[in-house]
Amino acid sequence: MSARIHPLASLIAAAARGISGVQVRWAGCRPENRQRIYFANHTSHLDFVVLWSALPAQVRAQTRPVAAKDYWEKGVKAYLAQRVFRAVLIRRGGTMREGGAEEALAQARAVIDQLADALGETSSLIFFPEGTRGAGEEIAPFRSGLYYLAKRRPEVELVPACLENLYRILPKGEFLPVPLSSMLTFGAPMRIGETEPKDLFLERARAAVRALRRKGQS
């Protein structure tokens, strides 16, 4: 099954590429059309669009972003998220606010079910495991969603990606972008070890993203 790309999605992707002047490098894998979970650091609203626009057209048609329901469920945002980019909207970390551990666990399970469903047989996902946008180069500790999803679907490739400089182009809380240059690097696919503990896996995934940084290396 091949999904159609919304024309507005292509338009926004082209604009985002122009504004972000992104140089894309496939350092650890090829841009193949196979089932993958791309996970990256998160600093800007441009992150998803830039990452998505870097994929070849057929891959793009099969790749959906994962986004926070509380942020993307109203008005224009809802239209963009649901209709244009066919985002998978999930409830994020309600553990603090409501109910006990039981309820939180049930909710987390529901989210993983939802993501596994969205992956289906052919789809890929773009995932930002920090859960929210950071303010700079620092990558926050990963939330556990990536771990549980990897456990549920261990055959899907996990591809780390590192986005650089986008927090300077469109930082959190700003409406207008500054058209600086940015970089996007895809790393080597990783898989979860059969008995790998959660914390170790999440830290390994985070290190894999951080290792792709190009700044200060040239």
């Binding site: 140089q23 300077r168 930082p171 207008l176 600086l180 240059s181």
Partner: protein, 334 residues
Amino acid sequence: MSTGWPSFRAIQAAAAGWGVVPKDPQLAWLFGGVLGVLILASVIGTVLKRTAGSDAARETIENLDARTRAWWKMCAIFALTLLIGRIGSLILFALMSLLALREYITLMPTRPADHRTLVWSFFFITPLQYYLIGIRWYGFFSIMIPAFAFLFIPTRIAMTGDTRHFLERAAKIQFGIMICLYCLSYAPALLMLTIPGFEGRDARLLFYLVLVAQMSDVLKYVWGKLLGRHKIVPQVSPNKTWEGFLGGVLTATALGAALWWVTPFTPLAAAGMAFVIALLGAAGGLVMSAIKRDAEVKDFGAMIEGHGGILDRIDSLCFAAPIFFHLVRYFFVP
């Protein structure tokens, strides 16, 4: 018969109204000359590739070939915009300013609080500067950035309340705007000069400036490769040698003098102008190299194959344009 489309004559008339350069046979000769040089460079590159012996030689020739290919594209774009006329040149140089500013600011450690200031710089100050050239408002064009933008930038940054490295941040943005925007905009500003007996042929002056500045870069590179021994400032750039500098400046001066017939200058004045352009081009290359060295990068970007970024290609032009403009204005505009 009405087809709904504007007639050719109407388009022509509209084009004239928009400041399109009238037919100019001498400009055509210049284009022809550049085309000839490009073809020659491509032929030489192909021949050299066949005869290259060592790997090092092959690498140099590969880079030379990439540069030549990029030159073809750059010349095509420049020629096209020059033919479209004043509007075309203004749009081209405005885009170059934006791209150069992008490369420059990307390398500078600005802080999140500078975001709005940068938005103003890219989307207001830049279009305004080129708009002022478009409406030929010399008095405001020449002071908008050194006076107004200069004061606006630190004010806007101070308003954010983030005082960390305050002066450094303001100065870095100011410098970027001065070089990438203000200095560069003097090149298309040549089109607003009215030189007696030279009306409607301003495009040639722009062509002359760009040609001499760029050729002086090429000639410095060639002389440096052929004879380069004594480095000028090795701490800044190991590739800049006295031999390359002197050979480049002298041959560029000779080239500029030989092209006196397309300018309003006498042969001697043309030589002097070309000398100044080549000299300032070297200064631009040196200053921008120092910035790159400080930021620990080799090039400002990777936009142009074999050349690096756009700022790597136009650094000489940025330095030569304002001085050339003011020399022409002082000596040739009554």
